[in-house]
Amino acid sequence: MTRLFISRDSTALSLGAEQVVKAVQQQAADKGLDIEIIRNGSRGLFWLEPLLEVETAQGRVAYGPVQADDIAGLLDNGLLDGAQHPLFLGDIEALPYFKNQNRLTFARVGLTDPVNLADYLAHDGYRGLSNALALQPAEIVKHVSDSGLRGRGGAAFPTGIKWNTVMNAPADQKYIVCNADEGDSGTFSDRMIMEGDPFVLIEGMTIAGLAVGATQGYIYLRVEYPHAFIALNQSIESAYQHGYLGENIQNSGKTFHLEVRRGAGAYICGEETSLLESLEGKRGLVRFKPPLPAIVGLFGKPTIVNNVISLASVPIILDKGGEYYRDYGMGRSRGTLPLQLAGNIKHPGLFEAAFGMTLREVLYEYGGGTATGRPIRAVQVGGPLGAYLHEEQFDTPLDYEAFAAISKVLGHGGIVVHDDTVNMADMARYAMEFCVEESCGKCTPCRIGSTRGVEVIDRIIDGIEKDKNTILLRDLCNTMTYGSLCAMGGMTPFPVLSSLNHFPEDFGLTTEKV
C-alpha cells in the first residue's frame, strides 16, 4: 500500500485540495491501486498548495501545486513511485524555504495526521506532559519562565510570570483559557496549529492546568475557523478516550477538562478581558484592569489567558527543557516566532524562525518579493493595529525590542505586503473604519475617536484645510493612544500615523515626511 498526503488545511482546501483527494481516490480505485490518503496539516508553503506527497522507498516526495486535472497524468507517469514530472518538487523539507526554518512549535505540522493520537505519540507527542506529571507545579512554571517565552498573541508578556501569578492565587477553581480568536489580517499560524497539530495545543493547555492547579480549560475559537473547530473536537474526543483529558490523566490522579467555545465574529474578543466576557455569555465589552485576569478572570476566578502559539510552544519546552527553547532568538526575544507571509507576496506561507532575522531577508529571500512583480511599498507587521513599515526600515531585525524602538510592533507575526499601487491614505482611513466597526464601545476615545478619525482623514483626502486637519488627526491619535481602555483604540493610531509619517504624499501633503 502506498500512502499519500494531501492537506486538510483551510488554505489548501481553498485552492482545491478536496477535489484533488476525490480525483485520486476515484482514479486509484479505477486502476485498482492500493493507496491510503492521509489528510495532514499544511507544510505552510502556500504557493505550492494543494501539495501532494507520496511515501516512497526514498522518503516522502512532493508534487505541487496539484489540481484535480493533473491527477490522471501524474498517475500514468508513476506518481506512486515518486517519478519525475513538471510538478515534481522532491523532498519538501530540502527546499530552502523549509530547511532554513527553526520548526519547534510547528515540528509536526504537515508531517503527521493531525487528529491521529497514535501518530502524535509516534512523533514525540505528550513527552512534555509526561515530564510535567513528574514535576511539582513550581518546577513546571520554572521551565516556562526559563524558556523566556513571551505571549505570542501580540502583547509579548512573559508567560512564566503570568503562570506564576495564577499558580500563587488561592482559589477553589481556576481556568486555562486559550485565545484562539485570531482576528488579525495576515495571520494564520493559530489556525494552522489547530488544523495541523491540535494535540500540541491540547497538551500545552493540560500542562498549564497542572502548573497552576486549573481543572477546566476553554478554547475560545473564532467562528470563521470551521475546519479548526472540527479538528479540535475530533482530537479532544480522542484525548478523552485515551486518558489524556478528563479525570485521572494517565493514572496521575490529576484532572483537566477541555472544551471549545465558538466566538461570533467580533474582533474585539481577541482582547483578553473582552474574550472572558464573551465566554461568560455576555457582550464582548472590555473590562477595566486591574484586577488582572490572572487574579479575577473567567467567572471571577484566577485564569490564564494565553494565545494558541504560546500554549502550543509549552510541550517542547517541557520536553526539552526551558534552556533548549531559550537558546533560540536574540536579546529578550527568546525562542521562535512563526512568521506569516501574506498579502501581495510571491511565496506566501508560514515561516517559523528564531527571532533576529531582518524583515528584508524574510520579504525578499524567502517571500520572493511581491506576487504582482511590482516593488514593495509598504509592509504592515502585527495585524490591523500594527504600523506600516517602509523600505528604509526593512533591515530591522524581527525582535520585540528592535521593533518597539522604531515605534512598530511584531504582534502575532503577521506580515502583510503591499506593492506600489497601494494608496496609504486609503489604508489609514481603513484602519479608522475598522476601529469604528469593531470597537466594543465602552470607552469614548475608541468609540467616538475612530468615527471622527474617518471624517478627518476624508477631509484631508478631499483637500479641505489639509494642514489644520492633519494637526487635528495627530491630536486625535494622541487622545486615542493615551485615553483608550485597550489596544483597539490605543493602537489604531499605529497604522494611521505610520501611513501619515512615511507616505505623506498619499495624503496630498509634501512637508510631513518624518
Partner: protein
Amino acid sequence: MQDYQNQKSTVLDILAAHQSMPGSLLPILHGIQDTLGYIPQAAVADIAKALFLSQAEVHGVISFYHYFRETPPGQHTIHICRAESCQSMGSKQLENHAKQQLGIDFHETTADGLFSLEPVYCLGNCACSPAITIDENVYGRVSPDAFDKLLAAHKGTE
C-alpha cells in the same frame, strides 16, 4: 417570515441541552443559528426566560456579534474578506464586482432568496488573498471571473 410556533420546539430543545453549561448564551445562540439559519426575534423571550436574563440583555448580546443574524439568510451566504491582506490583492474590486453581480449590498439577500452577502474581517486565508467563503467553504485567490464561476456553480447552472 416563518411562523415561530414551528421553530419554538427546536429552540426549547437547544435551551434544554445547553442550559446547565457555564456561560451558555453563546453556545445556545450558535445552536439556534446552526439549526434555523438565524435567531428568530420571537426566540428572544424564550431564551431570556430560560437563562433568567432580561430580553434586553439577550438582544444586546445578539446585536453585539456580527455573526448572529435575526433574519433568515438566503440559500447560500457569501462572506467577502475586507481586511488588509485581501485589499493588497484586489478585494475592493472583487467586493464591487460581487455587489454588482448580485445586485445587492452587504447585509442584503438577493430577491430570489439564493444569496446573502456579508463582509468579514479575515478568514485566516491571507496567504491566498483575496478570500471568500460560500457557506462553510473557503476559496482563495478569487478573481472576479472565479467569483462568477462560483456563483454559477451555486445556482446549479454549471
